[in-house]
């Protein structure tokens, strides 16, 4: 809609490690969608949540009251954000090597400062970068993208105007671009024949997004290499 070709994603700029008191933090911008995320590394969390064989992941998604078009009166706690937090929790349970930290807890907080479409995908990218910044062992950097279908032609990285009620859209998250789907979420009804075209485009775009994230991660590691010595 805004002059991009269907298979072109919005420009991404990110910044890692800006929050001093969090183990890992990341700020990512997909075009106008701005997400800030902080990770508080494996620490001995609440007794009720502790699991014997693996570490438990607590995720909280909250969007600021002025992030959407209409003003929301509560940033978190409503049904939508609790559902998205659960989705993220489940997705990252399979990405992080959880059995390396038994009986511990990792807190992930992501804050959508401005939501202009495919907020969930931006959150996933932000979280995986923040985890990388925090140095938590993972199977790979999870990259995600939302892709919709208009008359059979798949379009990628939807903005809020494109996320209307009628357009079926799939949010897909894969691990380091490989064909390992960690999260798949479908909104609105999608005809079965379009299913594999959408899946293919989503998978390939995830791979491209992965490239950008990998580059950013390497630069960041190289930047603090002298400090680590």
């Amino acid at each position: 809609m805004d002059g991009r070709r269907p298979s072109q994603i919005r420009n991404i700029n990110t910044r890692l490690g800006l929050n001093r008191n969090a183990e890992g933090s990341c700020y990512i911008e997909h075009g106008n969608t701005k997400v800030l995320c902080a990770v508080y590394g494996p620490y001995e969390g609440k007794a009720s949540k502790r699991l014997e064989n693996r570490c438990s992941i607590v995720c909280q998604y909250s969007a600021t009251t002025f992030s959407g078009l209409e003003r929301k009166n509560r940033p978190r706690g409503d049904r939508k954000s609790t559902e998205i937090s659960r989705l993220l929790e489940k997705a990252f349970e399979s990405v992080i090597l959880t059995d390396s930290f038994p009986r511990s807890q990792i807190d992930i907080f992501c804050e959508v400062i401005q939501g202009d479409g495919s907020n969930l995908a931006a959150c996933i990218n932000a979280i995986s970068l923040a985890l990388a910044d925090a140095g938590i062992p993972m199977k790979g950097i999870a990259s995600a993208v939302t892709c919709g279908v208009i008359e059979g032609k798949p379009i990628v990285d939807l903005t809020s105007r494109e996320e209307t009620d009628l357009l079926p859209r799939v949010t897909l998250a894969t691990i380091s671009g490989r064909d390992e789907v960690v999260l798949v979420e479908l909104q609105n009804r999608l005809h079965i024949d379009h299913l594999n075209t959408v899946m293919e485009t989503a998978k390939s775009t995830c791979a491209d997004v992965y490239e950008c994230l990998a580059v950013v991660a390497q630069q960041h590691i190289r930047a603090c290499a002298p400090i680590l010595g």
Binding site: N13, N21, L36, Q60, T64, S67, R76, I113
Partner: protein
């Protein structure tokens, strides 16, 4: 914030403050470095981001909504502001879930009292009330992204910046049938074939020169300190929030004084603190006004935090 200091570190700090020198070289009445950027969020009518001393980071966004109000009770119409402070869990894991909510309520209550007599602070606020029973409701939402002491100063600066950046659309009122009113955004008359939406709506700005500034003054040992860092906050005896509004060009009028947290305060030390704060605020206020005027107009939505 969980910043732990050993006793002798505290002693060292308190002794320093008593003869007016602090760990980072500032005197008791200096502020840390303030970064202020306006118009950072495209989705809001007015926004501003304030960073205090490279750590405390606050984002203020304002949205306007049309609200009907019974116009016959003219005198005590509540001010059109609605403040909401929210601690993002990014600041620290203690704010996850319901963690920071009571402190946030305390802050929004302080802001509401400070802006309670808003009609005489902001000169042209009357214009907000459109004819027969409709007016703009100004929702001011502040999100604290990082928290490292003296949050209330950063928030009050952020609110002033956002109010300054706020552009309120001009509106034409044409009465409709059944007592309803149809509101039309006024657009500069342009012939030609430019589609109506693209033409920028003319807006007007609020005059923020007399907005109140809230400052935290804390009592450490015998000295009074402005804008404490987390280390200094661990050895505070008691804290005072002082709201100051400039009347003429350089003297200030105290709008609200609120004691925060426990701790005893003698009367004279309260007066001392207030005079100290008004001195510090003068410098801050002039710097703020200067900054608001000179900030060049950047493409909205440029990426900040970089």
């Amino acid at each position: 914030m969980e910043v732990y200091l050993s006793d002798d570190e505290k002693l060292f700090l308190i002794a320093g403050i008593e003869d007016n020198i602090r760990n980072d070289g500032r005197t008791c009445a200096d502020f840390r470095q303030v970064v202020l950027e306006q118009g950072v969020l495209t989705g809001t009518n007015g926004s501003c981001r304030v960073q205090l001393g490279h750590t405390t980071d606050v984002l203020a966004g304002i949205k306007l909504e049309l609200e009907s109000f019974d116009k016959d009770s003219e005198k005590n119409t509540p001010p059109p502001f609605k403040f909401f402070v929210d601690f993002s869990a990014n600041a620290s894991s203690q704010f996850a879930g319901k963690g920071g909510d009571e402190y946030a309520e305390e802050l929004s209550a302080a802001l509401t009292t400070a802006y309670s007599n808003s009609y005489d602070i902001l000169g042209n606020l009357k214009k907000v009330q459109l004819a027969d029973g409709y007016r703009w409701k100004i929702y001011v939402d502040v999100t604290v992204l990082q928290w490292n002491g003296s949050v209330i100063d950063a928030i009050s600066l952020g609110v002033i910046g956002a109010l300054h950046n706020l552009s309120i659309p001009e509106v034409e009122i044409s009465p409709d049938d059944g007592g309803k009113v149809s509101i039309v955004l006024k657009r500069p008359r342009t012939g030609g074939n430019v589609r109506d939406e693209e033409v920028p709506v003319d807006t007007w700005k609020l005059d923020v020169s007399r907005c109140p500034l809230l400052v935290t003054v804390s009592k450490i040992g015998t000295g009074n300190v402005i804008d404490c860092t987390p280390e200094e906050e661990t050895c505070i005896r008691s804290q005072l929030w002082v709201g100051l509004t400039p009347i003429s060009n350089n003297d200030f009028e105290v709008t609200c004084v609120k004691q925060v947290g426990s701790g005893l305060l003698e009367i004279e030390s309260v007066n001392e603190m207030i005079s100290l704060s008004s001195g510090a605020v003068k410098g801050l206020h002039s710097a703020l006004l200067h900054r608001l005027k000179t900030e060049e107009y950047r493409k909205p939505g440029h990426s900040f935090l970089l």
